[in-house]
């Protein structure tokens, strides 16, 4: 046993010192030594080669090209009224406008079957399908054995990811989180001078930078001049808990969320000590008035950090933006929209909370190639005259969707777990009733 430790100790020492010097210190001060860049270049080259190989091997190249569109069927955009008019045009008699025919069911039938084959909503709650394989088993979708060299490359990838990158990343994250707790607690002991705020920001930034390195995150920030300012509210589309790390790498935010137990609770309490965040007890969250009031108080205080909110309320798979809950838009104050788009080729950031627990999700993150994403800061927006919260929310949502190249959906992200509201079906029935009885329907 003694001999074992005599060997392991120096190795561990070298490991740690190199870690600290090469990765941690530069990360803390925001400098880059170029190691990550080199890694990414090698990675991109290998993936390009792999893609080329797969395309060459599979003779049905057109299938790969078509999957790029990723849709299975073509759907009409025409309205209920248009479609039913068309169906009725071939009536044996020309009856009064607005009457029932047996062929009306065909419209609903086709719409129903189309939605069974492919619908806009359920596909947003599972990971996006890749156009070409990125050498991870988890995304291996219909790609069979191609060649020996490809398999060897995949094997090398497995070894690199699990034996080299994973321990590295776990160590970094552990250091980052412990530093967060220690640093914020230390800052918390200081009296309330201006320096305290500056130190608190520094500690937070350093820790998030270390954590970002712990995920091999490469983030490109665009339009930094629109970065959220104090007293404002930052809204972004939500894909995973990692979004917080991504955004906090470039600025300091006040977090909003539920009080958790365990490790999260420790982090939350530590962060609370150095600068004010907004944590709610579970019972308090149901009281919407209370929630809005606390957020408003925070936003009105111009010395406090901008609030970070994800109005979708749940994780979506980064191909679309779903309904923004109007609560965040009723607070008043300036809204700073931010669009986040991950590149799924290097690692899938979406957290499918019904399939993976937080721990297994983090492990999957740490055994991906890297997390690559683009963050766009959009110009600040404010509620217009005569615009209500819902319209304002939709306007912000469209801006974010457009910038990030995401599909703008009106559906509620809560449909991940909950049933759809009956009122939507009633809307459809009402529209159809107008077609049956003409304009004098009983309202």
């Amino acid at each position: 046993m003694e001999g074992f430790w005599a060997v392991i100790f120096p190795v561990l020492r070298v490991w740690f010192t190199s870690l600290v010097v090469l990765i941690m210190l530069p990360a803390m001060f925001g400098i880059s030594l170029g190691i990550t860049e080199t890694y990414m270049k090698i990675l991109i080259k290998s993936l390009e080669w792999a893609t080329h190989r797969i395309q060459r091997a599979s003779r049905a190249e057109e299938i790969l090209k078509h999957s790029a569109s990723n849709g299975l069927i073509q759907r009409d955009d025409s309205s209920l009224e248009q479609e039913i008019e068309e169906l009725r045009r071939s009536r044996p008699k020309s009856a009064e406008r607005g009457d029932f025919t047996l062929s009306d069911v065909l419209y609903f039938t086709r719409k129903g079957i189309e939605s069974i084959v492919e619908d806009d909503v359920t596909q947003r709650f599972t990971s996006e399908e890749l156009v070409s394989w990125n050498l991870l088993t988890r995304t291996n979708n219909n790609f069979q054995y191609i060649s020996l060299r490809l398999t060897v490359l995949w094997g090398v990838g497995v070894v690199v990811r699990y034996c080299i990158l994973l321990p590295l990343r776990i160590t970094l994250t552990a250091i980052g989180l412990s530093w967060l707790v220690i640093g914020t607690t230390m800052v918390g002991f200081l009296p309330n001078f201006r320096v305290k705020g500056w130190l608190s920001d520094l500690v937070h930034l350093m820790c998030y930078r270390i954590c970002a390195r712990g995920l091999s995150a490469t983030i490109h920030y665009h339009n930094k001049q629109n970065r959220p300012k104090r007293g404002g509210i930052c809204v972004a589309n939500h894909t995973s808990p990692i979004d917080v790390v991504i955004l906090a790498n470039d600025g300091c935010y006040a977090m909003v969320g539920q009080v958790h137990g365990g490790l999260m609770g420790v982090l939350q309490r530590a962060m609370e000590r150095s600068c004010p965040h907004i944590w709610f007890e579970r019972a308090e969250m149901r009281d919407r008035h209370l929630v809005t009031q606390r957020l408003r108080d925070h936003a009105n205080d111009k010395t406090k950090l901008p609030i970070l909110i994800f109005p979708e309320g749940t994780c979506i798979n980064n191909t679309s933006v779903m309904m923004f809950k109007k609560g965040s838009f009723e607070i008043g104050g300036t809204i700073y929209p931010v669009a986040i788009k991950y590149d799924p080729q290097f690692g899938d950031a979406f957290w499918n909370s019904s399939k993976y627990s937080m721990v297994s999700y983090l492990l999957r993150m740490m055994t991906s190639w890297a997390i690559v994403c683009n963050v766009w800061y959009l110009p600040p927006m404010a509620q217009k005259e005569g615009e209500d919260a819902v319209q304002f929310a939709n306007r912000v949502k469209s801006t974010i969707a457009q910038q990030g190249g995401l599909v703008d959906l009106a559906w509620d992200g809560g449909l991940k777990r909950a049933k759809v509201k009956d009122s939507l079906k009633e809307q459809q029935q009402k529209k159809y009733s107008h077609m049956v009885v003409g304009d004098d329907s009983s309202d």
Binding site: F100, L102, G112, I113, S115, T122
Partner: protein, 195 residues
């Protein structure tokens, strides 16, 4: 998530489904992925709740009837073969197929079979007649609470009167076909696959 799905579907199964329904190989594998993603219980079969989870289907006024069409008499689960057999009704009719000699008689996506599918949406008790009650049921599903009983009743009476040729106050399948003879059923009851 997709990765294991295609491996559960064997080549022989794909060939059989191809023969029975006429779908292409790639269409069958993609529809199998879809089937698998809807199958939350991962037991190789879909229940009515699995269909109800699709929001666009849940708000469709005829949603329940359409879901019913997938389940054979008295069953609560539909496997992939049954799923494909029902979807096959909505495959577009290709011109070269009209001349082919198919071993199993008429293809599932012929005009007559498409019309039969629509007919069965009305005819719940499968007695090959749409009675006034059955027609009223479907009408009520489609209009919700927006039309009164009397108005709906008179609409139903008028429809039966127009269609009924043999005076039994019900609509048989041939009478139904006659009413819809000018409707482009092949196009209206088909889904356009992208590949």
């Amino acid at each position: 998530m997709g990765s294991r799905a295609s491996s559960l579907l064997r080549e022989e199964d794909i060939e059989e489904i191809k023969r029975e329904t006429g779908f292409s190989h790639s269409q069958i594998t993609r529809l199998y992925s879809r089937f698998h993603s809807l199958d939350k219980g991962e037991n190789g079969a879909l229940s009515r709740e699995d269909f109800q989870r699709i929001p666009e289907l849940a708000i469709n006024p005829l949603g329940d009837r359409i879901i019913n069409a997938f389940f054979p008499e008295g069953e609560d689960q539909v496997n992939f073969r049954g799923f494909m057999r029902t979807l096959a009704h909505f495959r577009p009719v290709e011109d070269n197929e009209k001349n082919k000699n198919l071993t199993s008689g008429e293809p599932l996506n012929s005009r007559a079979n498409k019309l039969l599918f629509a007919f069965r949406l009305y005819d719940l008790d499968r007695d090959d007649k749409i009675s006034r009650d059955e027609l009223l049921q479907v009408l009520r599903m489609m209009v919700g609470v927006n039309i009164s009983d009397e108005q709906l009743g008179s609409i139903a009476d008028r429809t039966i009167q127009e269609a009924d040729t043999n005076g039994d106050m019900c609509i048989s399948f041939s009478e139904f076909t006659k009413v819809l003879e000018k409707v482009d059923v092949e196009q209206k009851m088909s889904i356009r696959f992208l590949h």
